[in-house]
């Protein structure tokens, strides 16, 4: 997707996702929650956002 946001925190905000409920990977590396505001994103970055769902 395209985003005008330059950081992970910005991206989550744009998507309306609560940072406290998810985990984020950028280019297959987990980003620490404390780093969301500072972690920069550039073109071509592969971002994954996961959360907890029902499971056994």
């Amino acid at each position: 997707m395209e985003t005008s946001k330059a950081t992970v925190a910005g991206l989550l905000d744009e998507l309306g996702i609560t940072a406290g409920r998810v985990a984020v990977e950028v280019n297959e590396r987990v980003v620490k929650r404390a780093d969301y505001p500072a972690f920069g994103l550039k073109e071509g970055d592969h971002v994954e956002v996961v959360n907890f769902v029902g499971g056994g």
Partner: protein
């Protein structure tokens, strides 16, 4: 008499652990959880659907302050995947607990114990509290503990199969030979008696998902499982009578009218 279950300093009030998958909706999940009396729930780690954003989240219904969240690595067939999901789970959650699954086969969902051992060793080194979902092989159980597992979770039967404790003899051997970590039956429990049997063998806890969620009345079944686990544990600690081939009368012969 204190009979608390504890893993790496984390105390658990209940010996019944409950999965959160396969329920009709979040409300049913929460009600079943409440009825079960459990304070531990497993959850899966999955992509947030950014296109179809449901307004509700599982954690809206399950308070992480009240319940210990035990994320799993369900759906992982390789060590790499399991590590990836575990690391994400730790970042998304509130503890180092991980129910580690490295699955070997789609039909049986049996664990790939070789991959499981590798992943256990790596995650334990990274400070995770690793609870591996394994089979009923006492040798693998031993190796998992040596690799740093904080508990061993042998399956009773395939996930969701409802077949109960297929090999109580192996589970008993695991209980006799593995000391120092809890043995928690995970998978296969179909009804209350299965859970009681697991606890009577001496297991420290039982994890149940499908057995409750798939029941006709999940909330009633959750309550049944609660009592089954309590009863089984009490019976185990009470010390059962031995099994005998022949009868021993319960009433005295003395005073009989002859």
């Amino acid at each position: 008499m204190d009979d608390r279950l504890a893993i790496k300093g984390i105390e658990f009030k209940s010996r019944l652990w409950v999965g959160t998958g396969k329920y009709k909706d979040f409300e049913e999940t929460a009600k079943a959880l409440e009825a079960s009396g459990s304070d531990v729930v497993t959850v899966a780690v999955r992509r947030v659907n950014i296109i179809d954003r449901k307004s509700e989240n599982l954690l809206d219904y399950i308070d992480p302050k009240k319940y210990k969240i035990l994320p799993n690595t369900a759906g992982c067939y390789t060590v790499e995947d399991a590590l990836r999901y575990a690391r994400l789970a730790r970042e998304a959650g509130v503890s180092d607990l991980i129910k580690l699954e490295v699955i070997g086969d789609e039909k049986t969902l049996f664990p790939d114990v070789i991959g499981l051992l590798k992943a256990t060793e790596i995650l334990a080194r990274e400070g995770f509290i690793v609870l591996p979902y394994t089979n009923d092989d006492p040798i693998i159980a031993r190796r998992l503990v040596d690799a740093g597992a904080a508990a061993v979770m042998p399956l009773g039967a395939p996930i969701g199969s409802g077949l109960g404790i297929r090999n109580p003899y192996n589970i008993k051997i695991i209980l006799e030979t593995i000391k120092g970590v809890p043995i928690i039956v995970d998978a296969g429990v179909g009804t209350a008696s299965d859970a009681a049997i697991a606890m009577e063998l001496g297991c420290d806890a039982v994890l149940i998902n499908t057995g409750i969620a798939g029941a006709k009345d999940p909330i009633a079944m959750a309550e049944a499982m609660k009592y089954a686990v309590i009863a089984g544990r009490l019976a185990y600690r009470a010390g059962r009578i031995p099994k005998k081939l022949y009868a021993t009368a319960s009433s005295p012969l003395e005073g009989m009218l002859l």
